[in-house]
């Protein structure tokens, strides 16, 4: 096939748009992740939005570029997410309460002021990482297979 020739298509508009839109999407994902407890969002959506930002890079450039920008092994990210989720859930056992009991409290943090900190967020971080990890693992493996 004419694979080699196709590699360098001149998608200037897409490429330059991607280079800054990606950051906006990524910031939005972070916002969604933190806002999840009170307004629409959460780890699952945040993870998906992050993954879509990465997919955008993938479409505009190619897998090698994505590799260079974010040199992660996404399998490890999946595993890390699972680990965080399981540890958060089982952390409750240390305090002699049933598995998965969440705890929360309000703290006065510098810059943020009165903030609610919730162990559910840690669990959500696990979900976030798993979603990003799995999506990217799948896309990368399929994309790379030749």
């Amino acid at each position: 096939m004419k694979k080699q020739a196709k590699k360098h298509t001149n998608d200037v508009i897409l490429e330059s748009a991607t280079s800054f839109i990606t950051f906006i999407i990524f910031l939005f994902a972070v916002y969604l992740f933190f806002a999840g407890h009170y307004t629409p969002g959460g780890g699952f959506i945040g993870g998906l939005v992050t993954a879509s930002a990465l997919v955008l890079i993938l479409l505009a450039y190619d897998i090698k570029t994505l590799r260079r920008i974010l040199p992660f092994d996404y399998k490890w990210i999946t595993a890390l997410g699972m680990l965080i989720a399981v540890l958060t859930a089982s952390g409750a056992l240390l305090f002699n309460v049933p598995f998965f009991t969440h705890a929360h409290d309000y703290f006065n943090l510098p810059l943020f002021g009165k903030t609610s900190l919730h162990t559910a967020m840690l669990f959500d971080l696990g979900v976030y990482l798993v979603v990003v990890g799995v999506t990217m693992t799948i896309i990368q493996t399929i994309g790379e297979s030749d």
Binding site: M1, L32, A35, G36, H37, Y38, T39, P40, G41, G42, G43, F44, I45, L48, V49, A51, S52, V55, L58, L59, K75, T78, A79, G81, M82, A85, V86, A89, F100, H102, H104, S116, H118, A120, F123, D124, G126, V127, V130, V131, G133, V134, T135, T137, I138, I139, T141, I142, G143, S145
Partner: protein
């Protein structure tokens, strides 16, 4: 958690460190570290002796799953203590023996001792648990550790075969027991053995009670290698000899006997129990000893001998159940069978343990266990010869060894019960003593065979792989300890009668105690000239004659057609099972996605439509439906037309785009119905998955990327129409009828108070139903890894390109 729990779990906890020790200290035989464990435990358990002698029992409770009534409750009474001492005592000797048997340089000791310690915990757990589920757990753990130990030399084909056989048969029994436990606990409402016994009167008449009885017996018979399940034990002899001595003669195979003894109080009132236990036991005694004579392998003889001896104890436990059916008669007469069972159980552990160790010594020093190659070893291995002599004489029931005493008592028990008119036995009761005597005669024959063929006769050094010499002292000590026990118990049997036997018998026959009876154990060598003595003389003389004429009739064994042998049947069953499942697998699993989808959707349709029909759920109310707006109608039309056009799309790209359209339309529905979380998720998912689809299709082989018209298939069209219909029906039905009130209200009320959250959807995801999410991300992670492995490690060649 108590000290007793610690004692049970100690071996398996120690086993965690064994691989480390084996690796870090390769110069010291790992067995020396392991030896500490059973020695410590034996001293710990012997402290309970005075307590159980005075009829006390010791319990401790550790909550495990209280909501299901499953607690790790230990219960130590006379019976449990007897077994615990056997497990730890023989365990100490076996570990000592194994230090000299297994070469530290050649064998992977770490794994061996890990399995052995795992077994020790499992076996202690079996005999000291009061909760039936915990008992079951440990029971299966003994099967698993036995499997691992038999397959210890896994590079040998016979080892793997034997391991698989034992696993299949004993786990089958274990599962039967699980069924029995389920029935019994449903009937009595408790998982505790003692509580079940306490509520016995209310459950005895139930029809399912008998089924539970049979299921429990199935477990006991498979584990204790009773006919026709005995076939796994001879093949289990592929294990290293210390394992055979420990698991397959002294302890694990006695777990079945333990089960029968432990559940005797519950089941023994049923006459079926008496019939099954005693007849299976007595036939196994006969069959095992008959087959032992034809073996050529020393361990093979011992394996069949073990089967036969287990049958003897089993039959005694069955005959002992007769004690419960007699009120007016002298209880002492009937309890003798149970006393003999417990007594012989101890004796068998001593003499058979020593014989197995002797067989191991012979194997170790000469390189073979085939009695056709052995002979004349008496001058070279005098100590081993003495061990073998005492062990076999005791097994054959010759005075003054302990085997004689229990064999006498066995004959008494058999004669008493078969002579009584219990259960209308007289009509065919004569079979029991006849089988007992014939079995004993053959026992005598193979006992002589072991000693004569190994240690006497002509030396055949040229046939031996090694030059024989006496074993190192460390290997001789454990069997010497056992044979000295054989002699001591033989001479002073009453050392045991109050310390171990009576408390154990009391645990088996609590009904006798409850009825105000007393169990008196007195064992004596001389009973005067009675039928038992006469029978012993018959056994000895017939045995001698049969042994002398052995060459003439041994060929009779070859006359038995192979096709009817149980081993042949087992192999055929296994082979046929594999063939059938291969055939089914090959027809069903075609490797085409489309056929799997047909199965999946076909079953969904059948199951749901049947359920809807069966529950009479075809009633649809229209009143809860809110008014329909123009937007919704438009969106629905878009949705339907895009879904329909997918089926007519000729190019893949078109179908991907159309699929995207349906997804985005659904997302718009979520927006309309004010579900921002869902809408957001749906939008992003749709985007990512369209990208994924494009990626996948781009990678597909060129040939199938061609645009082609998929031929119309009536079956597929029918299934897809039915799936649509089913989903619609379910949606309508779930809207129209509610069997229970929605949980939504609870979430709305508690989202702020309990979870301190504002977004209910997310709080449900991470908090209220966090467990679901945890498993969902686990599935997601697995799917990701699955796709990764499938693509990265697929076989090149063949299918692709």
């Amino acid at each position: 958690m108590s000290v007793m729990h610690g004692a049970i779990l100690l071996p398996i906890l120690i086993s965690l460190f064994i691989p480390l020790l084996a690796k870090r200290l390769p110069n010291i035989h790992t067995g020396w570290f392991v030896l500490v464990v059973p020695v410590l435990l034996v001293s710990y358990f012997s402290r309970f002796l005075p307590g159980t002698m005075s009829g006390e029992n010791f319990t401790a409770r550790m909550p495990w799953i209280p909501s299901l009534g499953i607690d790790f409750v230990t219960y130590l009474d006379g019976l449990g203590l007897l077994f615990a001492l056997l497990i730890t005592g023989i365990g100490s000797l076996v570990v000592l023996y194994s230090i000299f048997y297994l070469d530290a340089k050649k064998e992977s000791l770490g794994t061996f001792y890990v399995y052995l310690l795992m077994f020790m915990t499992a076996m202690l757990g079996v005999v000291l648990s009061d909760n039936m589920i915990v008992l079951y757990l440990f029971w299966e753990l003994t099967s698993i550790s036995s499997f691992l130990l038999i397959a210890y030399w896994y590079e040998r084909e016979r080892s793997r075969y034997g391991a698989q056989k034992s696993m299949l048969i004993t786990v089958l029994g274990g599962l039967a027991m699980l069924g029995g436990i389920a029935i019994l606990s449903t009937l009595s409402g408790s998982l505790s053995i003692r509580e079940t016994y306490a509520s016995l009167e209310s459950i005895q008449g139930e029809p399912f009670f008998t089924i539970a009885l049979v299921l429990f017996l199935l477990a006991a018979f498979t584990k204790s290698a009773q006919f026709p399940f005995h076939i796994w034990l001879p093949d289990a002899m592929e294990a290293p000899t210390p394992v055979s001595a420990y698991l397959h003669s002294a302890t694990m195979v006695k777990a079945g006997l333990y089960l029968v003894a432990r559940f005797s109080p519950i089941f023994a009132d049923e006459s079926l129990w008496f019939y099954l236990v005693s007849s299976v036991g007595i036939f196994t005694l006969f069959w095992g000893s008959l087959n032992a004579v034809k073996q050529h392998d020393l361990k093979g003889i011992l394996a069949y001998s073990t089967i036969s001896q287990l049958g003897l104890i089993m039959s005694l436990l069955g005959l002992g159940a007769a004690a419960l059916h007699v009120d007016a008669l002298d209880d002492g007469l009937y309890t003798i069978a149970t006393v003999a069972a417990i007594f012989h159980l101890i004796n068998h552990a001593t003499f058979k343990g020593s014989l197995f160790m002797m067989a191991g010594i012979v194997d170790h020093e000469t390189g073979t266990r085939d009695i056709r190659k052995l002979g004349g070893l008496a001058q070279l291995m005098p100590i081993s010869m003495s061990i073998a002599m005492i062990g076999t004489l005791s097994m054959a029931g010759i005075p003054p060894f302990n085997g004689f005493l229990s064999k006498e008592m066995f004959l008494t028990g058999v004669l008493e019960v078969s002579g009584s008119d219990l259960f209308h036995l007289p009509s065919y009761g004569w079979i029991i003593p006849v089988l007992a005597v014939v079995g004993s005669i053959f026992t005598f024959v193979y006992s002589i065979l072991i000693v004569r063929r190994t240690f006497f006769g002509k030396r055949q050094d040229d046939k031996l792989p090694k030059t024989p010499h006496e074993a190192p002292i460390g290997m001789l000590i454990p069997p010497l300890v056992l044979v000295s026990l054989v002699v001591i118990i033989g001479l002073f049997p009453n050392l045991l009668s109050d310390t171990l036997i009576r408390p154990a018998v009391e645990a088996v026959l609590p009904q006798v105690l409850d009825a105000g009876g007393k169990i008196d154990v007195h064992i004596s060598m001389w009973h005067g000239f009675n039928t038992e003595l006469f029978l012993t003389l018959v056994i000895i003389s017939a045995g001698v004659i049969l042994y002398k004429t052995l060459p003439r009739w041994q060929s009779l064994y070859n006359r038995m057609p192979r096709a009817v042998s149980l081993n042949h049947q087992y192999d055929a069953l296994l082979r046929r099972g594999e063939q059938t499942s291969t055939r089914i697998h090959d027809t069903v699993m075609t490797g085409y996605m489309r056929s799997y989808l047909v199965y999946i959707f076909g079953f969904i349709v059948i199951l749901i439509l049947t359920a809807l029909y069966g529950l009479d759920a075809f009633r649809f109310a229209v009143d809860p439906i809110s008014s329909i707006h123009a937007y919704e109608i438009i969106l629905t039309l878009v949705l339907i037309s895009s879904a329909l056009s997918i089926t007519f799309a000729r190019s893949r790209l078109t179908s991907i785009i159309l699929l995207g359209v349906t997804g985005y339309t659904v997302a718009l529905f979520f927006v309309l119905f004010r579900a921002p979380d869902l809408a957001l998720t749906q939008l992003v998912i749709e985007t990512v998955s369209v990208a994924l689809f494009l990626l996948v299709f781009y990678r597909l082989p060129e040939i199938s990327r061609k645009e082609e018209r998929i031929p119309f298939k009536l079956g597929n069209a029918l299934i897809s129409a039915l799936v649509g219909l089913t989903v619609t029906l379910v949606a309508l039905a779930s809207l129209s009828q509610r069997s229970f009130s929605s949980i939504a209200k609870y979430y709305i009320d508690n989202v702020a108070d309990l979870a301190a959250g504002g977004n209910m959807v997310n709080v449900i995801l991470v908090d209220f139903r966090g467990f679901d999410t945890l498993f969902e991300i686990a599935v997601l992670a697995l799917a990701g890894i699955g796709i990764y492995t499938m693509i990265k490690f697929r076989r090149t060649g063949g299918m692709d390109k």
